[in-house]
């Protein structure tokens, strides 16, 4: 398993495949947490940052989760810790 140091989704370089290491659910409101889950975000999901919105880097982040593209604000993205490298955690989890 190749995995770099964990980093926040906000710090993940664009178009670098990664997977979710940990989500700090307590930092999210119940409904936001539910929505993120419904979008398929969970520990082990593959994630790739695609675009940073806004001119001063304060805008939302668009990222690919599985086959879906979703947009979230930076405060949500900061609650998500990712690891770069190929996605293999999910396979482990399901085995």
């Amino acid at each position: 398993m190749t995995s770099a140091l964990p980093l926040r989704l906000t710090d993940l370089p664009l178009r670098q495949p990664a997977y979710v290491d940990l989500i700090d659910w307590d930092a999210l409101s119940a409904s936001d947490g539910q929505r993120l889950r419904e979008f398929g975000l969970c520990e082990g999901a593959s994630v790739e940052a695609l675009h940073h919105g806004g001119l001063m880097g304060r805008g939302p982040i668009a990222c690919k989760v599985g086959r879906m593209t979703i947009a979230m604000r930076r405060n949500h993205a900061a609650a998500i810790t990712v690891r770069t490298g190929p996605q293999d955690a999910v396979a482990d989890e399901e085995a």
Binding site: D32, G40, L50, G53, G59, M68, T69, A71, R73
Partner: protein, 619 residues
């Protein structure tokens, strides 16, 4: 349509549900409301292969049976047979996006577990193929235990197959599988969905997707903003450039109808009522149908192509700065068409303060009812010349008016969020759908529904206000040769002269005061009211009667007054429907009254500043 079997169409947002609904029902749709809630009920009639009708209801898109908004709650309640005013559906058609199976199957599994007769429509198979994904519907069907049918809304084969499957399901009456014993939790459903999705994928090539390529430009912080501004700019130019010919046609039709009535009837009250009240009044509003349809065409296209969410993404930085949720952008953009559906669309915003702020500023977005007012004033006072590079001055002024509304709304939000609707800032969590080329039928159907709504308004609210105004303007009859004009002598004229004391400082004349009262019902009425006033005033002078409303305004208003009038309409809350829907959505009179108060204050100040500045500048 009670008595017919009821089939509910349900699925995730962006599963292509609406296109499928349109393809299955065609133009035979009925829009309504669920009692007690302001969620739209969209139903239509679907014919089975033997011609038997079935009622198909399109439920609001949702991600699970665990609702986070009133829309999603309706979906859950209908499916469970708990929604007032709706019977338990006889069957469910679960729509899933073929290229997003992992996610959509989770909800499908949740629905199948309810044990109701269910068919899964594997939708947008064409887009999945475009993205290099090949699926096996048979494997899916075996794994899910319900029929799975590949559909593409534009192709007939899948639709016929779906109809056939529905037919046998409704005929057998059963299909009512016993609910699955153990109810799986979210995590269990997710894993199961993932496993099934994996098993159904025949081939998956990581093709570089069209969407990703377009997004590199559309979501770029600089290029994307320019693209958005350019799109909006083209939209407002088109409103003028494309509408000339159809407007001339409608004007010609109204004029010839007026001539016919004039020729057929003797001079008198009835003729005045028909020509001055009905034809001139209502006709002056119907003329704007082409422009409104052009505007709606652009908004429908932006929505259907998937661009709207990108625009929300680009604007989110700004929204966050004024304390709004990024979600607020979509209700606000649809308020460009009409604030009523815009305010209803705020139900997707979870945070109450966030939602209230969005409701309060929604009327500042330039709705299509303002278009007739803007168009008539711009047409009369702004010369139709080209500024540069094919950019028309009239379109430019219109663009500026829209921008003023947006800037006003952002400033209002900024102030509101720091005072009356203080609270933590909301979030922005949205799915970005794939780009797709909309089906022409869907756009045409959408335009048709808008046209019907507009003409109904013209036939009811606008017609009634115009008729009442005509009565108030025609009575009591001014004495012959009394030296008092009929308008000044009439009841309406007297009220307007009273109101004018307040409005005179900001450059408004008696006719404007007169038009503003009935325009409380709907903004367009200002135009029909002016048309009626000038039509009655011109009675004695046949030559005047021949001239268009614009020309008459140009003769009787100084430019600063016209500009102040435009500025007034950027802010004034002149729409009974908006006030009513605000009352309904906020459960009381407190907020609608607050909204009326602050918007009228803004309108007064804006019109005043415009008038005084323009006068000082010597315009």
């Amino acid at each position: 349509m009670t008595g017919l079997p009821l089939v509910a169409l349900v699925g995730n947002p962006n599963a292509g549900k609406s296109a499928l609904f349109n393809a299955l029902t065609g133009a035979r749709q009925k829009l309504g409301n669920y009692p007690g809630v302001t969620v739209e009920r969209k139903a239509g009639r679907l014919s089975l292969s033997d011609g038997r009708p079935v009622e198909l209801v399109d439920l609001p898109g949702t991600y699970s049976l665990n609702p986070t908004s009133p829309d999603e709650q309706v979906t859950r309640d209908v499916i469970l047979g708990r929604q007032a005013g709706e019977r338990l559906p006889d069957a469910l058609v679960v729509v899933v996006d073929a290229s997003n199976l992992d996610n959509h199957l989770r909800f499908a599994l949740e629905l199948i577990a309810l044990g109701r007769p269910t068919i899964v429509a594997l939708n947008m198979v064409d887009l999945a193929t475009r993205d290099g994904l090949e699926l096996d519907a048979q494997i899916l069907s075996r794994e899910l235990g319900v029929p799975v049918i590949s559909t593409v809304a534009v192709r007939k084969r899948g639709l016929d197959h779906l109809r056939g499957e529905l037919e046998s399901m409704l005929d057998s009456g059963a299909g009512d599988v016993a609910p699955a014993g153990e109810r799986r939790d979210f995590e269990g459903l997710r894993r199961e969905a993932r496993r099934i999705a994996r098993s159904a994928i025949v081939r998956e090539t990581p093709s570089r997707r069209l969407t990703a390529a377009v997004d590199r430009v559309a979501l770029h912080p600089v290029a994307g903003l320019f693209l958005l501004l350019a799109l909006l700019f083209i939209m407002f130019q088109a409103v003028y450039a494309w509408s000339e010919a159809p407007i001339a046609m409608i004007e010609g039709f109204v004029a010839s109808a007026g001539d016919a009535v004039t020729a057929a009837l003797p001079d008198g009250l009835l003729r005045s009522f028909l020509v001055d009240g009905v034809l001139n009044g209502v006709g002056s509003v119907i003329v704007f149908l082409p422009q409104i349809l052009i505007l709606f065409f652009f908004i429908l296209m932006l929505e259907a192509t998937g661009y709207m969410v990108r625009a929300a993404f680009l604007m989110d930085g700004l929204m966050a700065r004024v304390g709004l949720s990024g979600r607020a952008f979509i209700p606000l953009l649809s308020s460009f068409a009409c604030a009523v559906p815009g305010i209803m669309a705020t139900r997707t915003i979870a945070d109450p303060k966030d939602r209230l702020t969005t409701i309060l500023i929604a009327p500042l977005m330039t709705c299509s009812a303002r278009l007739p007012v803007y168009a008539v004033i711009i047409g009369a006072f702004i010369p139709a010349r080209t500024v540069a590079l094919g950019i028309g001055l009239q379109g430019l002024v219109l663009f500026c008016l829209y921008i003023s509304g947006i800037v006003g709304a952002m400033l209002a939000a900024l102030v509101l969020r720091r005072t009356v609707t203080k609270g933590a800032s909301g979030g922005f969590l949205m799915e970005m759908p794939k780009y797709q080329w909309p089906r022409p039928q869907d756009i045409v159907l959408g335009l048709w529904q808008r046209a019907v709504i507009f003409l109904k308004r013209a036939g009811t609210i606008i017609f009634t206000s115009t008729v009442i105004l005509w009565i108030l303007l025609s009575f009591p009859k001014a004495p012959e040769n009394g030296g008092v004009s009929q308008v000044n002598y009439s009841i309406a004229g007297r009220v307007a002269n009273g109101l004018n004391v307040v409005l005179q400082p900001i450059g408004f004349n008696r006719d404007i005061s007169l038009a503003l009262i009935p325009a409380m019902a709907a903004r367009e009425v200002a135009v029909s009211a002016l048309a009626t006033v000038y039509s009655l005033d011109a009675d004695e002078d046949e030559a005047k009667l021949e001239r268009s409303l614009g020309d008459r305004l140009k003769d009787s208003w100084p430019l600063p007054t016209a500009l102040a009038f435009l500025a007034w309409f950027v802010f004034a809350p002149q729409c009974i429907s908006t006030i009513a829907v605000t009352r309904r959505e906020t459960n009381g009179w407190k907020w609608p009254l607050f909204m009326i108060g602050y918007l009228f204050a803004l309108a007064y100040v804006a019109a005043g500043l415009t008038y005084w500045t323009a006068t000082a500048a010597g315009l």
